[in-house]
Symmetry: C2
Subunit: 347 residues, 2 copies
DNA sequence: ATGAAAGCGCTAACAT
DNA sequence: ATGTTAGCGCTTTCAT
């Protein structure tokens, strides 16, 4: 009733050879006569022999699989990044195991532990927004497990990293709004711990300063659950709109935050961009379908995934210990649409 | 340099016990003295012992992991379904391995093979739109691997299945359009092989017939790549709009098809619903943000995932062979918005 | 060129 | 109550 697959033992028995000979023949060892090799290979082909990867993992302590640690896949950015990861991993003979933290630190720890115990050969990580303690990664990393961070990275672990040009794109976004006449620009940011949050807020600040505008703390709101809880975005928005210095534009810093922000604005009956302009960091495929069409910063998600997995597999397959690490910064795509149209001078 | 984890052997050595005693103590066997048990448990805790799941898999031929086979995760329906799957699997102690076919039959076969060789304890499957030959599933199923199909199912394998009320919701959708005055309703369907396609087209047909309207084949277009290729949707749309009997409403049968359809309409400068009404099968979170807001059929994705994984785990853990299978049909949510507003009688 | 045997971590049938 | 041994499928010394 169980999955009795063909094993090298079966092949050995059938051919009157020992398991070790079969094993060696299968991997083309030079010490096996070409005759025997041919015989074994042909028979293996005939009975459709597949080596048992579990046995291999146990033996070799590796699995030709890599673990991906993200907050959630129901998010355009991450699902696109995963597609990039898979596109390369597949060709290089690796399998991808995806785990979701749902922005929970505890869940991230459990997932990482499980992946490690499953003998993944390496980890591709984008941190949860609750993660400040990196011990679960540090332990594995110190034991030699290759890790590459992407998007939400950390300084506490020295390894390859792949990010988008967060600082620059937030800077550009803000400049764009300023040029179009907006002066009270709010920033709806994700969790304060995240690298992406810091980088984006810094770019926003710098743009203001470069234009002689003060940085007003009240105009920056953080969503400490990374937008997983709609209420918090809603609250942040309400809070912003209640200010006496009401913002005339808003930059939404992630996918989730962008959509929630738009919904809140819609529910309040406000008009974009007349009442408030919006620019969103989002990898949505349909910013043109919004009304008005949405000005967006689109991260190079697919490409980030590809670059990250390339770096990781290189790390895994490197013969000598790697000490020279790099942080790749990839360019986002800034597309101007109607939601940030030049402010009409009210006469 | 490698991940020397603690093993039962280490514990045995440290405590002067044999591995079997340690093993038994760890799993609380009644034949071990409570003293020894306590000693072992405490030491294991102290050194943070974790059993090696790979060794367990090899030994027991199961892995407490289940494989999910879907076409893609960058799709609201599937990412929501996967969240439903995970929510249950996690609590019942199973891990979920996701694989994407990207609607390719070959890729599906490779993925299934890999999952099987990884000793997944069961499979949760939604077929690729190219799949007509089910041999890769039948082989495993006959060997006793539990499989549950969801959404895109097949009749060729007798097992549990979970689907949405596709027939009914397509029927309701069509009736709704008819009531609102639309009479030339086109149906933009997914690949012809898929169960969801047949069910939905049948519901659509029946609604027409029940209202004394003829079924016009020209008004049904199939996207044989399931919408993976935008061009094919675009072509189908163009084709429909060129008919002398131009449709006044369109039902888009999947997530991808819905968004592409809307984009095409937008690009052609047509107005919804005046030029053409639209109802979309989509699990998008933001149908209110479209302009006009989109009337949708939303599948109970999360719940479908939950029900499917429950059935699968029950199958896996069942002591006796299961022969009594069921096909659960869950209700979709039909939300009427602006894109299908009553047709204005042109005077 | 081939085989025998050990070992990866764990469990379980079989001693004692 | 505890230990010994074999075995899951595979690779890899170490013989021969």
């Amino acid at each position: 009733m169980k999955f009795e697959s063909i094993t090298i033992k079966d092949i050995g028995k059938a051919l009157g050879l020992s398991t070790s000979t079969v094993s060696r023949a299968l991997r083309g060892s030079y010490e096996i006569s070409s005759e025997t090799k041919k015989q074994v290979l042909e028979y293996a082909e005939k009975v459709n022999y597949r080596p048992n990867p579990i046995a291999l993992s146990l033996k070799e302590r590796k699995s030709r699989s890599i673990g991906v640690v993200v907050c959630e896949i129901a998010n355009n950015f991450f699902s696109q990044a995963i597609n990039g990861i898979e596109s390369i991993a597949y060709n290089r003979g690796y399998h991808v195991i995806i785990s979701q933290s749902h922005e929970s630190y505890d869940r991230e720890v459990v997932n990482v532990r499980h992946l490690a115990s499953r003998s993944v050969d390496g980890l591709l990580v984008s941190l949860s927004c609750e993660t400040t303690d990196l011990t679960h990664f540090i332990n594995l990393h110190e034991k030699g497990l290759p890790i590459v961070f992407f998007d939400r990275i950390t300084n506490e672990i020295v390894t390859h990293k792949v990010i988008a040009d967060n600082y620059q794109s937030a800077y550009d976004t803000t400049i764009h709004l300023l040029r179009n006449g907006y002066t009270k620009i709010a920033f709806l940011a994700s969790a304060p711990f995240l690298s992406i949050t810091k980088e984006r807020v810094d770019g926003y600040k710098k743009a203001l300063l470069d234009n002689g505008l003060p940085f007003d703390e009240k105009l920056v709101k953080h969503c400490s659950h990374g937008g997983m809880i709609e209420k918090e975005i809603d609250n942040a928005m309400t809070c912003l709109l209640k200010l006496k210095q009401k913002p005339d534009a808003i930059v939404a810093a992630t996918d989730r935050i962008t959509t929630c922000c738009l919904i809140t604005i819609k529910n309040l009956g406000l008009s974009i961009p007349n009442d408030i302009a919006v620019v969103g960091f989002t990898n949505s495929n349909i910013p043109e379908l919004f009304s008005p069409t949405l000005t967006t910063v689109r991260l190079p998600a697919f490409q980030m995934g590809q670059v990250a997995i390339e770096l990781l597999i290189d790390l895994i397959e490197s013969k000598r210990p790697v000490t020279d690490f790099e942080t790749k910064v990839l360019q986002s795509e800034f597309v101007i649409r109607e939601s940030s149209k030049p402010l009409l001078v009210k006469s």
